[in-house]
């Protein structure tokens, strides 16, 4: 691997051309895409929230459905960002060769990768916001502090877009992404406090969850949505940002190695 592969990313506003290209495609299918993105989290939230919630008095000081809603805002953002960079990103990078076409124009790979990550974060942001909106309509959120969830969701989207793109850069085919979902994303969703408090887990596992990015997203979003100030804001933001930056750099190095040879 040479120094150019490992070089510091060189960004420009040209990444917005890539963002704009993806948003134009999305706009053609915006309604079905949004409904599809919303159906899954809503089924979890309403099904588990009302069904399971009816058997529980309160969880973490709030109704179970309110508890669950705050977790699902984060997990649906994670899912949406991961799907976008992996399945759609892989199509554009490998199958349709859209990235190659863009790189024949005066746009560099660094900007293509940045555009993809910011785009996936933007799209997942809409998914997170849609869940937040539903929670608000259902009366599960009443504090204006919940508006602070908006930047948290965008940061969460950036983090998981960057991490997912590492998989995209390594992937030989679409099948590869199943490993990431079944071995990383799904277990993370189960142990990061989305469905039940992390304190329910055995102590050694709690140590592991403390290193997972989704845990930190939930730790920020949950208090904010119930009108409280999260504790350890700086730590949570730093962990999410660190995953985003490290994931992005790794994804960039791997895509440079894959495409610029």
């Amino acid at each position: 691997m040479n120094t150019k592969t490992l070089a510091f990313p060189a960004f420009s506003t040209r990444h917005l051309h890539v963002w704009r290209r993806n948003s134009l495609v999305w706009r053609k299918l915006a309604v079905p895409s949004m409904l599809g993105n919303l159906a899954d989290p809503l089924i979890y939230m309403l099904g588990l929230g009302y069904g399971l919630g009816a058997m529980l008095s309160d969880v973490g000081g709030m109704s179970y459905i309110a508890f669950l809603a705050t977790g699902i805002v984060c997990s649906s953002t994670m899912m949406s960002a991961s799907f976008e960079v992996m399945y759609s990103g892989f199509s554009r990078m490998h199958v349709q060769k859209t990235w190659d076409a863009i790189m024949n124009a005066p746009v560099t790979l660094d900007d293509v990768v940045l555009g993809e990550v910011v785009w996936a974060a933007s799209k997942s942001f809409l998914s997170g916001m849609a869940v937040l909106l539903v929670a608000w309509v259902l009366g599960l959120v009443h504090s204006p502090a919940a508006l602070w969830v908006i930047p948290v969701v965008f940061l969460t989207g950036l983090t998981f877009a960057s991490l997912g793109l590492v998989m995209t850069a390594l992937s030989p085919s679409y099948d590869f992404f199943m490993y990431y979902f079944t071995l990383v994303i799904t277990p993370m969703m189960l142990v990061s406090g989305v469905f039940f408090p992390v304190s329910q887990l055995p102590a050694p596992l709690q140590v592991v969850t403390a290193f997972l990015p989704l845990t930190h997203a939930v730790e920020l979003a949950r208090p904010l949505m119930s009108g409280a100030v999260p504790s350890g804001i700086a730590l949570h933001v730093c962990v999410l940002a660190a995953y985003a930056v490290a994931g992005f750099y790794l994804a960039l190095v791997l895509t440079r190695r894959r495409l610029l040879k």
Binding site: R14, H17, L24, V25, K97, A101, M103, N104
Partner: protein, 316 residues
Amino acid sequence: MTRADPFGMNSDNASCLRASGLRKSYSGQEVVAGIDLELRPGECFGLLGPNGAGKTTTLRLCLGLIDPDGGRIEVLGLPVPERAREARRRVGVVPQADNLDPDFTVEENLLVYGRYFGLAAAEVRSRIPALLEFAGLGPRADSRIQTLSGGMKRRLTLARALINDPDLIFLDEPTTGLDPQARHLIWERLRRLLAQGKTIFLTTHFMDEAERLAHRLAILDRGRIIAQGAPRELIARHIEPQVVEVYGDGAGRWAREFGRARSVRCEQAGETVFCYARDAGPLVQNLDQQDALRYLHRQANLEDVFLKLTGRELRD
């Protein structure tokens, strides 16, 4: 023009592309092994070579998409890869495999591609009707890419490469996989571009394409340029002017007993014998009396040069 400078290389700095001592290896194997190239403004330059000769790698090096292991490249006066991105603002590219955007219509493909060059939407829109006309896709502006034929896709890719009104156009095997009608249409369009003063850098393994379009060409084999010059010049320099192709079961025996002695060179490929001669008269006279053999008498062409220089064995 002096002898030391046969192509006028140093007489002006207006060359569109200049590469010297270009090298690139992959896992120890040298794919580009010291190439020197020079493209003059307004010419069509053909890079000819069998599969795997290093044509596409050379093109990617010139576009600054990969870094050479050695050598220097200058495109439109800018050093590559250092300032490749800026150079690509004035370059158009038709890649080997179609990578049109399947999520967009014909017109949207042009519009979105123009944005990658930082062109204003209004400017791109004003160029689109002429480009669609050029590509013969005027009535298909709103068609989806999947509904286009192979020839239409190629023409749209060519139109897309012109969205920034480039000075230099790279075409990587532009007519591979097209039917004869579609190929002739592409050639006609490329001639129009040359008439407008564009410079074209073409890679191909079709001899007729190179012979028709290229003012000058270089034959690339195993990463090296083994011959360079105008098509007619290469034929005159490397090959005898007349060729007689002989077909049939007895062709080999006829060559041994008669043909070989009356030709400068004789080659056999399968059932066919190729006799190269300065005067094919005696060969043809004799063949007219051989009922069992069929033959074709023709002028030597670029394919004969190519096969002589790169050999007849398969490359894949």
